[in-house]
Amino acid sequence: MGTRGYRYKTSHSLPGPGDGGNTGSWRVQRPVIDLTRCTPAKRGVEACFSCWLYCPDVVVSRTIPPQIDYAYCKGCGICAEECPTKAITMVDESVCHEREEG
């Protein structure tokens, strides 16, 4: 099956996620949010959102509580480093997989 009928004759890219595939597979560690320490989660109000601000990959949602899109999170750890209440810890993927499978 060829591309003869493709709609563009030029290199014309349309917006969409996952250009790099499932970048979540790059991770060695994943960020896990402790909702008892996370300020917006604890207080139930719009507050902080440092993790949302500093995420280079737009995988942290600006919600109460913030949520992480693990399909694309690369596990850089910036959110964990910048969280003012140390609510986010980086947990080894191998541990997470054990938990998921167990």
Binding site: K9, T10, S11
Partner: protein
């Protein structure tokens, strides 16, 4: 309206009539009067375009690429080393399928420095995927420039209109200037299939993989190879577009009819001289003289060089016994590019190769060396007698 003006002004008037919206150019001899004329027209309010005085030729074509990508009709002009400086962009414009038009006032390239006419600058761009047209006089310059915009916008391929530096750019000839109202019927406003638009965002000309790949709609998109193939396919089909555009122009303006090749006394010619640009018409005098001596000779001017009109060239030459290709450039290390292309066309199209004409490549006018009609006549007389003396560089003084 008929006027007597230079080739550069003829080109400028063509640009004005075409309703170009963005002009970007960097001065280089012998193109400069063209850009000066455009500046004058724009500043006087006689041309509604934006003029960008860029700081290099590479930027001149970059401005055109940006402007054309955003939906404006764009134009630039250059010569020689200026064209070479923008070479990367020349490839880019073709690959991006942008209908930019560029006039090239042909000039020799350095090293060493030389400001006079030959074709090395534009010939060296023949692989880039641009349509290349060689104008032989001022009327063709203004008409070809106008036609170029329509051809470019029909094919989404950029077009280079080439004319001899000094010999055409700076000399005065009478020519007809088309009426603006008539031009409007020939060339509609530019409506690209896509122009950068926040309402329909797209990322243009990013890295494109060797292999095909799925897009966001789940359809298989081209790889780089398919995109380049489509350029080649559309370029080959552009021969027909050039012919159709010329026919439409001829219907409105009563001029043209030689979009691919321009034959002169070729019908019964046993020997044909092939050339491009102003040399073509100079050869008409040579051929007339040789005809009085009894030689059956003709001239074939090649007007469209890329895409190469191989079928038309072969058809014009198939009855000849011999062909002399006279060029102002070389593919160094082998022979003139037109000579090679022509031989290839004969090889592909002649049904009986045992009756193929001989092809002899000649070089003339390199670095603006004056091409004297008497030298041309002598060279051809020798050729017709069976041998061209020396390496076939006419007028060389080693």
């Amino acid at each position: 309206m008929h006027i007597i003006e230079t080739g550069n002004v003829a080109a400028a008037l063509g640009v004005q009539l075409a309703g170009v919206q963005v002009v970007a150019a960097y001065p280089i001899t012998p193109q400069t009067p063209l850009t000066e004329k455009l500046s004058e027209l724009i500043e006087a309010g006689e041309m509604d375009a934006r003029y960008v005085p860029v700081e290099s030729e590479h930027s001149a074509l970059a401005v055109c690429i940006g402007a054309s990508s955003a939906g404006a009709r764009a134009f630039t002009a250059t010569s020689a080393n200026g064209l070479l400086y923008m070479h990367e962009q020349v490839h880019w414009a073709a690959g991006a399928r942008l209908p930019i038009v560029m006039c090239v006032a042909n000039r020799a390239v350095g090293a060493p420095w030389n400001i006079w006419n030959d074709h090395q600058d534009s010939i060296s761009q023949r692989d880039t995927g641009w349509i290349q047209i060689y104008s032989c006089d001022h009327q063709q310059i203004i008409d070809d420039t106008l036609k170029a915009f329509r051809v470019a916008e029909t094919t989404s391929i950029p077009v280079m209109v080439c004319y001899d530096g000094y010999l055409l750019s700076h000399t005065y000839m009478p020519f007809a200037v088309p009426e603006q109202e008539m031009v409007a019927r020939f060339l509609p406003p530019f409506h690209p299939s896509y122009a950068l638009d926040p309402d329909a965002p797209a990322n243009l000309n990013t890295v494109t993989l060797p292999e095909i790949r799925m897009d966001v709609h789940g359809e298989m998109a081209h790889g780089y190879m398919e995109i380049r193939y489509l350029l080649q396919e559309d370029l080959r089909n552009a021969v027909q577009v050039v012919e159709e555009t010329d026919a439409a122009f001829q219907e409105l303006f009563g001029r043209g009819g030689v979009p691919l090749v321009e034959p002169y006394r070729c019908d019964d010619a046993e020997y044909v001289v092939v050339a491009m640009g102003s040399l073509t018409y100079q050869l008409w005098d040579v051929i007339d003289a040789l005809r009085t001596e009894g030689h059956k000779v003709g001239v074939l001017g090649v007007r469209l060089y890329r895409p190469f009109p191989d079928a038309a060239v072969a058809a014009a030459l198939q009855g000849a016994r011999g062909v002399f290709v006279m060029e102002k450039a070389l593919s160094y290390g082998y022979e003139g590019a037109l000579c090679s292309d022509l031989k290839s066309a004969l090889y592909d199209h002649l049904p009986d190769k045992s009756r193929a004409p001989f092809v002899k490549g000649l070089v003339a006018g390199i670095g603006g060396r004056e091409i004297k009609t008497v030298d041309l006549t002598d060279a051809l007389r020798s050729g017709l007698a069976g041998s061209i003396p020396g390496p076939g560089w006419i007028g060389i003084r080693l």
